[in-house]
Structures are given as structure tokens and as C-alpha cells.
Subunit: 571 residues, 2 copies
């Protein structure tokens, strides 16, 4: 394609309201334009990328045996009432009435619709398992849409839903989706990790998020330096430290710490490292018998609320005790609490349980203990994993250490169990001709989001650096002063025709712009391979080549150029 027949809507200015780099670059490179809050038009350059992502997703979904279908964007609200989600979903579900005053909603997801279809169409276990997917427009009325297409209101999802007679079958399809997702993101060319995610009440291996690693990601991902293990930081297990706890070597001593409440203040005051201090938090208990409970973690660690609230003694959701409750139960204010002499349940983190000669609050305002030791001075009610993993922790998989990086969630696979099939009474006859509620899995990819995530991961100060598989064009040809040099025009057009005839997607910059403008635009829009044709090169029988990531351009002899370029393209 020639730039003269493409809406190349590049801009130099960074739009003021675009905070994240992908949003800035998508606007600057002319991939998208805002229509209204959280609504974007995809310009021709953007659509080319979008369609490539869609094509890879579709191919791999088909390869996995999933069947494509297409459900309406507009959904009758009564199905959401049947599943109970009409209430739960809140105002993100945009509701409206049609001209006959019937209630509808714009679909943010399609569990209800597909379950309704399956309960009507699938009668026998012989038709199962089945996995249905669509690539389709969704709408979620975000209260504060932001980050461009990363968190827009209208977006494109690939959503799939599988149906099964039993958990084993669900697990098999789930594993196939896991593999398909790995193939999809690998083919797109992203550095990503499948990450164990919270399964809620399902447990087990039932949920993975797929994260594109990028510094700007919203989520912290913990992964092993030596294995495939990866999990949301909140979900990664902090293993029990190896070996025995060392014997105490200090005496318990009460020291005055006037006005020192935070770990930092205490460490500063006593000139010790954070790991020497134990932090005690008072939270609400699960029973009337124990209205409050103490949680103890090392001063350099963070409490993991998800882990803590799963414990029987702790109220779920986790809630901090009020100042009054703390004073009532402990006899001092927060900032001076410690496990020594506490008469409420004390839950101690596994690593904190290995601390020796530690410092902690003395349960008396303005005082701490030094040289405190477990068993000798305090007894845990329970030792458990209640902290976030940190960099350098041993990986829970048993291999390597924990590394933490930020990720952008672009996919999610989830074993739903029978949540929707039960609510909508989706049953089929099993081998004994008895109606059986179906098991379900669901599998999403944020197609529009993938494009933004790819940019978050692949850019520099000049613009986007597209992975080859989803670049809007593979190659760009930038002729120098073509409108003044028939020779350059001829050579450039000839090469364009040759490359195009080989099925290579070439963007030919035929504008009469200054070379600098053309170079900047081609770098901004991130075309992987750049070819420059100019008088000087032609004089020497050379064509200039530069990969988007190369520092410098190189001159290649005309006769060898095609082989050279094809080798680059196949690399």
C-alpha cells in the first residue's frame, strides 16, 4: 500500500490525557481515535494490527477444536436475572429498554447467552465435550475508562465457553486452552507468562491468567528463575524456611521507643534492619469467641490478605480491627503491639516463625521488646503462610528463586464448574439417561487489549516496535526525493512491485515529505524493516536497509538485496 492511499494520521504531540505509553503511541501513530469516553475508532493502520491478532487467535482456537459462533451484542436482561448476575454486576452492565419497553443489556460477557443456547441445543452426553468461541464486540460501562483501549468501554474479546459431563473432561479442554493460549501469544511474539490465578471456591489448577510482561503492567507477577512457575504475587506460596530455627542468644529486654510506631521509625531508632522486627496486625476474627486475632509477619514482608482470610480463625473478607477494639483487646495502641503476652489467637507467618532474638511491640504504648524469641517468650496459636512472596524467596515449585515483574493481563482461562449451568438449569442426559448439570469452563482474550500490551512491551523513544507477526506492514520503502528523481521513483516502484508480488506487505511512502518526516513516521508506526532508496545509493548500486531495532542502517548491494531481505523476513 502507498501512504497516499492510507489514512496516515501520525502526530508529533503527545496527547495530554494519555497517561500510558501504549495509549500515547496508539494516538500518535494513528492507530486509534477517541469518539467519546472509552470509545475508540480503529483507524486503517490499527485495524491491520487488530485483524492479524484476530487471525492468529482464530487459527489457534480452530486448531484446538473449538467451534466459532457469534452471539448478539444486545442481550435480554431476563437471562441475567435468571443467573443472578443482573444484581451482582452493577452499573458496568449497561441496561436499556427497547421501543417496546423490554429490558436489554449490552453484553460485557456471554456466559448466560451461551448457557441458554446449550441448554436448548445439547441434549445428550454424546454431543459433549464442546467448546464454543466468538470474536466479538463487548461493552462494559467502566466508571472511569482509561489507558486507551487498555481499559475502554467498548472492546473486542475472544470469549470461549466449554461444556462437559465431568471435571476430568473440563480439565482436558482447560489444558488444551492453556496450550492454545501459549501458542497464540508465542505466535504474536510477546514475552508473556501463564500465571496461576485465584480460583475462588473452585481450588486446584482451575485458573490461569496470561500476562504480557511490561514495566507498566498493573499486576505483580512472581515467577521462578528456573522453571515455568508463575503466579500472581498474591497467590504465590511463601515456603517455610529450610532448617531449624536457631537458638536464642539475647535476653528479652523492654526498651522505651517513645513516639516510634512504624517499622521504619523503630528500625531507625534502634538501628536495626527491618527483618529483625516483627510486625503485629490485629484483624477481626471469624467467631464471637475470638473477635480479634493477631497476625505476625516480618518487618520486611507484607501481609497477604487473600492468604490470611482463608484461615478459619480470620474473618472473611479480611478487616482490620478498629482502634477501640485493639485498645480493648491488647491494652495499647497500634504501633506498639507484639506477640509477647498477648491473650488473643496469634497467627505467625512461616518466615516470622523462624525469627530469633527479634524486636516487637511490648503491648504498652511507647515500648518495644528486643531479644524476643518464640517458645521462650510467646507461643503462636498457628503458623501459616500469610505474607506475599518477595524477590529471592525460593520458588514454591521447588526450582530456582522468585523473580517479580509487572504484567498486563491479556487472557484468562477459568474452570467455572456449574455456577451458570446450575443457575440456568443446563442439563443433558448422561449415559444412564439421567439429567446431569453440566461443568463449564470459560476462556477469554482481550483482542484489542493485546494490541496495547504489545506496544507497552515493545517500544522505544521513537515509537512502536511491532512484533513481526502483527505489524501492520512488514516492510516500508522510503524513497528519497522521489518527486524530483524519476530514477529513484522507478527503482522504488520496481522494488515495491517485486515485494508485493511475493505477498510481502509493504508500505511505500510516496508522500513528498522531507526524509526526516518520513523516517520519523515509519519509526513511530513501528514497521519492522525499512528500505531507503536514494540517488546516492543508486549511484553506488546499493540499497539501504535498517531493522526497526538496529542502531544503524546498512547498505546492501542491489543484486543481493532481495535474498538479504527475504532472509531477514524469515528470521
Amino acid at each position: 500500500m502507498k501512504t497516499s492511499s492510507l489514512l496516515l494520521a501520525t502526530t508529533r504531540e503527545t496527547p495530554a490525557d494519555a497517561v500510558v505509553i501504549s495509549h500515547q503511541l496508539m494516538l500518535r501513530a494513528g492507530l486509534i481515535r477517541p469518539l467519546a469516553g472509552g470509545l475508540y475508532t480503529w483507524l486503517p493502520l490499527g485495524v491491520r494490527v487488530l485483524r492479524k491478532v484476530e487471525a492468529i487467535v482464530r487459527e489457534e482456537m480452530n486448531r484446538s477444536g473449538a467451534q466459532e459462533l457469534l452471539m448478539p451484542v444486545v442481550q435480554p436482561l431476563e437471562l441475567w436475572e435468571e443467573s443472578g448476575r443482573a444484581e451482582d454486576y452493577g452499573p458496568e452492565l449497561l441496561r436499556f429498554k427497547d421501543r417496546h419497553q423490554r429490558d436489554f443489556a449490552l453484553g460485557p460477557t456471554h456466559e448466560e447467552i451461551i448457557t441458554d443456547l446449550v441448554r436448548k441445543e445439547i441434549r445428550s452426553y454424546k454431543q459433549l465435550p464442546a467448546n464454543f468461541y466468538q470474536i466479538q464486540t463487548k461493552f462494559r460501562d467502566e466508571i472511569r475508562p482509561r489507558f486507551g483501549v487498555m481499559r475502554s468501554r467498548e472492546f473486542i474479546m475472544k470469549d470461549a465457553y466449554s461444556f462437559h459431563m465431568d471435571r476430568d473432561s473440563l480439565q482436558t479442554t482447560y489444558d488444551e486452552m492453556y496450550d492454545a493460549y501459549n501458542r497464540i501469544f508465542s505466535r504474536i511474539g510477546l514475552d508473556f507468562r501463564p500465571v496461576q490465578a485465584d480460583t475462588g471456591s473452585i481450588g486446584g489448577d482451575g485458573s490461569h491468567e496470561f500476562h504480557v510482561l511490561a514495566d507498566s503492567g498493573e499486576d505483580d507477577i512472581a515467577f521462578s528463575t528456573e522453571s515455568d512457575f508463575a503466579a500472581n504475587v498474591e497467590l504465590a506460596e511463601a515456603l517455610e524456611p529450610r532448617g531449624e530455627r536457631p537458638a536464642p542468644s539475647e535476653d528479652l529486654t523492654k526498651v522505651a521507643t517513645p513516639g516510634k510506631h512504624s517499622i521504619e521509625e523503630v528500625c531507625d531508632f534502634l538501628q536495626v534492619k527491618k527483618k529483625k522486627v516483627l510486625k503485629t496486625l490485629i484483624v477481626k476474627g471469624a467467631t464471637d469467641e475470638n473477635p480479634v486475632v493477631a497476625l505476625v509477619v516480618r518487618g520486611d514482608h507484607e501481609l497477604n490478605e487473600i492468604k490470611a482470610e482463608k484461615l478459619d480463625l480470620v474473618a472473611e473478607p479480611l478487616e482490620m480491627a478498629s482502634d477501640a477494639e485493639i485498645l480493648d483487646a491488647v491494652g495499647c495502641n497500634a504501633g506498639s503491639i507484639g506477640p509477647v503476652g498477648l491473650n488473643i489467637p496469634v497467627i505467625v507467618d512461616r518466615t516470622a516463625d523462624h525469627a530469633v532474638d527479634f524486636i516487637c511491640g511490648a503491648n504498652e504504648d511507647g515500648f518495644h521488646y528486643t531479644g524476643a524469641n518464640w517458645d521462650r517468650n510467646a507461643n503462636p496459636t498457628l503458623v501459616a503462610d500469610i505474607r506475599n512472596v518477595v524477590k529471592g524467596d525460593p520458588s514454591p515449585c521447588g526450582k530456582g528463586k522468585i523473580e517479580i515483574r509487572r504484567g498486563i493481563e491479556v487472557g484468562h482461562i477459568f474452570q467455572l464448574g456449574n455456577k451458570y449451568s446450575k443457575a440456568l438449569n443446563a442439563t443433558v442426559l448422561n449415559e444412564n439417561s439421567r439429567a446431569q448439570v453440566l461443568e463449564m469452563g470459560c476462556y477469554g482474550i482481550g483482542v484489542t487489549r493485546v494490541v496495547a500490551a504489545a506496544i507497552e512491551q515493545n517500544h522505544d523513544d521513537k515509537g512502536i516496535i511491532w512484533p513481526e507477526a502483527i505489524a501492520p506492514f512488514q516492510v516500508c520503502i522510503v524513497p528519497m526525493q522521489m518527486h524530483k528523481s524519476p530514477r529513484v521513483a522507478e527503482a522504488a516502484n520496481k522494488l515495491y512491485d517485486e515485494l508485493t508480488a511475493k505477498g510481502i506487505e509493504v508500505l511505500f511512502d510516496d508522500r513528498s515529505e522531507r526524509p526526516g518526516v518520513m523516517f520519523n513516521d515509519m519509526e513511530l508506526i513501528g514497521i519492522p524493516h525499512r528500505i531507503v532508496i536514494g540517488e546516492r545509493g543508486l549511484d553506488n548500486g546499493m540499497i539501504e536497509y535498517k531493522h526497526r531495532t538496529d542502531e544503524k542502517a546498512q547498505d546492501i548491494a542491489e543484486a543481493e538485496f532481495m535474498d538479504f531481505l527475504l532472509a531477514k523476513l524469515n528470521a
Copy 2:
């Protein structure tokens, strides 16, 4: 694909509420399922067809130089207010408020959105002409959605919008779209006609509808037996009859026709053919001077309201005079009116103007004239084309005669002029650096509708007969008693693998159903090429082949079968 991994949702019963054949067959063949009024889920078999139509449309739009983009389904209402259509469009524009109480609508079309984009992004005449298209979900809140996806509320359109500095450029792109549409519907394999359509105030060659010819069509299409000419019946010109009007041979005679009002009654009573009688209709005039006007057409012809209301003397829109107005102006009631002695303007159809010795009302209740003649007995104020063409009329193109068939509109190309660009002030700088309002064209294809229209045109009492290019599968393999015969299973699987490896889309019916059930299903879903493999054939070294349109199956020697099939597929 094997039927065991496809949701094959065929049914024998014809759904009661499905009136048209395409709706019936799409339900019965399991291409679609209703979700709510005018909302359909496309099942896997249907999506395969839909995607093929989309792919052809996309390829030909790209080939024409149009650029694909993607605009949101949800549109801010303020743009519709700016264009003035928020009011005009009525309740088919589904409006709603988002959570912040801002007004939005579900897009039934995107003129406003694209014009808003272009006014912001295109600054110079150098960037024009440009033609943008999308393939996207639309919503039109039809008061009575019907005929399945033929007139559904949610549907998929390919809509394109072109922008130009002048009419010539618009005409060039319009012509390119005309050609692209011809290629699209030809490639899909439909019998269609580009049909001249009403251009409203634009005039000229500015609007064509593309109709798939089918007996069930909603529109009457007039076309030439000997040229490409085709037009909506309402728009085809009825030429002036050739030659001179013959001389009168009868005397004017007033005859009693008691109680005979309609043309049929008068013809029956006087024992003459309809063409012998002239029909006089009184309609409202355009001016106070002539509050009513008489329109005269032959008894076997129909008044064409569009043609009549374009005349200066006639009020637009056309409105019949009331009984009181008729009595007041003519002195008799409708049913006895005629041009003889009328003292209001008399507009006579060209063909009626050639009538000789004709019969007409005598402007006296219960009486008609016979032997009436123009000039001698009555004088037309104006002779004009005010009737619909009928079969056998000379074609207005000058070649052949008019043939009339019914059509289903699947595409429409239209020169919009500056209607939207003016309303939204979409200007660009011209060569003299002056702001100039853009010219626009728009070009639609009802993608989902094309699927239904293809079925309306191609079916028999057994089911759908897909055109090869959009068939969900090209070939089906039906093995006989495969689950009892390992030999049949092996041969069928081998052939399936061979064909699939060649990139042929094969549906392998691996269900353990009776042959009759499998045959019926494959015919219902309309797979073009059917292969049967059974014990008896294998004994004789034969494979059975039948095209969906063949009367009988034929046995082909195994060794020759592949060549035979490939020849059929390439035919």
C-alpha cells in the same frame, strides 16, 4: 471437520413463526437460533458461511482501494443531533443513557461518526479521495423484526463512506464501488442485478441497489431482456409508444353503467379489455389555483406515484383528493370520472395519450363514454410518464423488452453529496487553500442478509443448495454403517485425511445415525458435493458421488475418484 465435533443442530420441523423459506431453512439447518425478537445467535455452521461472505467482501473492498477501519457500535447521540437525524430517524434509533447519564445510541449506520472522524483527520485535498469501510455489527430497533436475519434488529453490515473534493471524483469512486459490488456478488455466486434506484434530490446516476433475484423478494425489478438495464419498477421509464396515434373510428357515446365503478366492473359490463378503458384519478394539486388535478392512465396500467409527484402541478407527496373534493371539482363520484369535459388540469400518461376510441367515465354518476378520443373530445393539459412499466414494455435503454422479477436488496451504493459534510461542517483546504465542503458517497452491503438471500435463491424441498463459494463445507463424506464396518471407517477416514490435506473443507459425518438421517441432514445443510462410502461400493472398488443438484448419485472407480472430485470442485 467431523460432525461429532460440530454443533449440528438440524431439525425436521418447520418452526411455526418462520414465514420465509430462508428463515425456515436457517433454523432447520442449524445456522441460527433466536435469542430474542430480531436477535439471533449464529451457530458454528452459520458462522462458516458468514465468514466466507465477509472474506469476499473484504478482499474486493481492499482491491478497490478502500481502507478498512472500525468504528464503535455505541455512538454519542450528540453527533446525531448535529446532523439533524436524531429527530428524523425515529424510534429505530435505539437510544440510552450511560451510567453518567450521557446520551448514546446503538449505531444503525455510521455517516455521522465517519464524517466527524474525517473533519478532524483530513486537512488537505492531497489526502483525498478516500474511501473507508468497516464490517461491523449494527442495530436497528425495527418495530416488527421478521423474516429471520433478513430483517433482524442486530445485523452485520459492510458500510463504506467515501470523501471527495468534487462530484467527478465521487463519480469515479462510485463507479469503482459499482464494479466491486458486481465482483462481490458474482464471486459469491448469486444471480443478481444492479438496479437504478431513487436518488431523491441528487438525480442522475447516483444510486444503485443490488438485488438478488428470488421469487420471494420484496421488490419488483424491471430489467431488459437484451441489456444490463435494470431498475426498480417504480423508477423505470415507460417510453412513449412509437408511431402516430391512429385516427378515431367510433362516435362518442354516453352509456349507462349503473353501479359499475371499478375498471374490472366496467370491462365486465361492457365486455371490453382493460386496455380499452382509461382510469382517471383525482389528486391534490401543488397550488391554490389548482387544488386538484386529474391523472389519466390506461385501465391495465398502474399509476406511479413517484413519477406523478415530481410533476409541478402535483402536490408532493402525492395525496388522493377526498370524496368531497372530487364531487366539488368534477360533479360526480370516483368511479365515473373521465377526461371529457373536465375543467381541472388533466395529466395524461404517455401510453394513455395514444389510446383511441377509448372508454372513460362521463363525469356523471352511473355513466361512461365509449368512443372517446383525444383532441376531438378532450385535451390533455400535460402528457407525461406517470405509470409503472409492465412486462413487455420496450426497455428504456432502447434494447429489448421489459421483464419483471422480484428481488432482495443486499447492497446499495449512493451518492450522498454534501448532506452530512455540510451539516457537520466537514471541510478541507482545496488547492487554493480555501475551506471546501466535501462530497460524500456511501456504500452498504447487508452481510447477514446476503446469507439469507442466497438461500432464498438457492434451495429446494430438501433444503439449502449453497453456492460453492460460501458453502460451510465444500464436501461431505457419509460413511455407511461405519461403526460396524472397520473397512468403511478406514476408507472414509483415509479419504477425509487426503482431502483435508489438500485444503478442501470436508464435513465427515461420523455419527452412528441411519443413512437416511445422514443423507437428509447433508442435503438440508446444503453441502455441494456428497461422497458415500459403503461396503458394497468397496467390494466393487467404487465410491459414490452426488452433487447437491444432481438427480442421482453415480459410482466412480476408486482409482479415478480423486481426479474426478477435483475436477468437480474446480468446475
